[in-house]
């Protein structure tokens, strides 16, 4: 774990991390980048498949954003009083269940994208994440690669997720600090104007709420990939 001056209790709230770059991590990135550069698949396709691999379904945060898209008054509430709005999607930040712990935070804020500002969250120092409303953080969120580089080279890191933003859109990187937690409220995409909340939550994926992807009609979290169990002949090694 990195040295820093957080004032919360990591022993209880944050699992230790491996703060070391390994040959295997580098090899995975190298293979992926070379395949992307050769046109075998795109960075966005890879990000999508990775999200599927983590088996994330619609989160309470997705319901919150869908409600905000459908109801301007709820959006105002979500931005002004996010913890009150969270209760309407079943999350009480003061008594969270599941992944959340009461000591996780003292403040929660929702960062609303605009046509000219795109938000993305990180915890540069460790792996603070809005767990009560968004579940466990993805593996990559906890890597030094993401934590250290997003704050310095956000467009480069976002491009590695297949998200290319035009220069006229400002990228706002929000670093979690001390007991603050954040999530992103993306803009409602075109082609979804007459959708129901249940339709909308399907496309508001975890990655959209972190800010490394944008919601799109037809792109959901619920696609199940074809897999077959791995055989582990070298597991004893």
């Amino acid at each position: 774990m990195t040295d820093h001056d957080h004032d919360h209790d990591h022993e209880r709230t944050v699992a230790p991390m491996v703060d070391e770059i390994t040959d295997f991590e580098v090899l995975e990135i190298a293979l992926r980048e070379l395949c992307i550069e050769k046109g075998i698949f795109t960075a966005e396709e890879h990000r999508l498949m990775t999200e599927f691999a983590e088996q994330i379904g619609p989160t309470p945060a997705a319901h919150l954003v869908a409600k905000a898209w459908l109801d301007p008054e709820f959006k105002k509430l979500a931005l002004a009083e996010p913890m009150t709005a969270s209760k309407e999607v079943g999350v009480d930040w003061l008594h969270p269940t599941g992944w959340g712990t009461p000591s996780d935070f003292t403040a929660f804020q929702i960062l609303a994208d605009t046509p000219t500002v795109h938000n993305v969250i990180v915890c540069a120092l460790c792996s603070c994440y809005p767990r009560p409303i968004l579940g466990n953080s993805p593996e990559w969120y906890r890597t030094p690669n993401y934590r250290r580089r997003l704050v310095r080279w956000p467009r480069q890191v976002l491009a590695e997720f297949g998200l290319y933003l035009p220069d006229e859109i400002t990228v706002h990187v929000q670093d979690s600090n001390q007991k603050h937690r954040f999530m992103v409220m993306p803009l409602q995409p075109e082609g979804t104007e007459d959708w129901t909340e249940e339709q909308l939550v399907e496309i508001i994926t975890r990655d959209c709420l972190i800010g490394v992807a944008l919601p799109k009609a037809g792109v959901t979290t619920n696609v199940i990939t074809d897999t077959r169990p791995a055989i582990h002949p070298g597991a004893a090694g």
Binding site: P16, F24, C35, H46, R149, H232
Partner: protein, 113 residues
């Protein structure tokens, strides 16, 4: 397919495998943080439709099983899955060993910046 590849042998010999790292840093995650990204990479490859000599799903998995048992028997899972995939792509000429070596160096430099 079963010939040893220098750049991958060097990685095997450095042995930065997850059980070693996890013990060193006191973490309990059963798999390394790059595992889901590797899953995404394999899924994206399986869906690739292009003229390169890409293994299809069955070929990729069969080669992974064969290489894990023969060339990389000492590697735990999922390191053997990753290195077997690299081996398949190199042996098939999808990726060139020289460009992989250069890319490994530049990525490590980038991550350590």
């Amino acid at each position: 397919m079963s010939e040893r590849i220098e750049v991958l042998q060097e990685i095997v010999e450095r042995n930065q495998v997850w059980p070693v790292l996890a013990a060193k840093w006191g973490v309990e995650n059963p798999v390394p943080p790059w595992k889901t990204s590797l899953d995404g990479l394999c899924d994206a490859l399986d869906r690739a439709a292009c003229d390169e000599n890409i293994p299809d799903f069955k070929e990729r998995r069969d080669e992974e099983d064969e290489l894990s048992a023969t060339v990389y028997p000492g590697l735990p899972y999922p390191e053997n899955q990753l290195v077997a995939l690299a081996h398949s792509l190199l042996a098939r000429g999808v990726i060139d060993e020289t460009e992989l070596k250069q890319r490994l160096a530049s990525i490590r430099e980038r991550l350590e910046a």
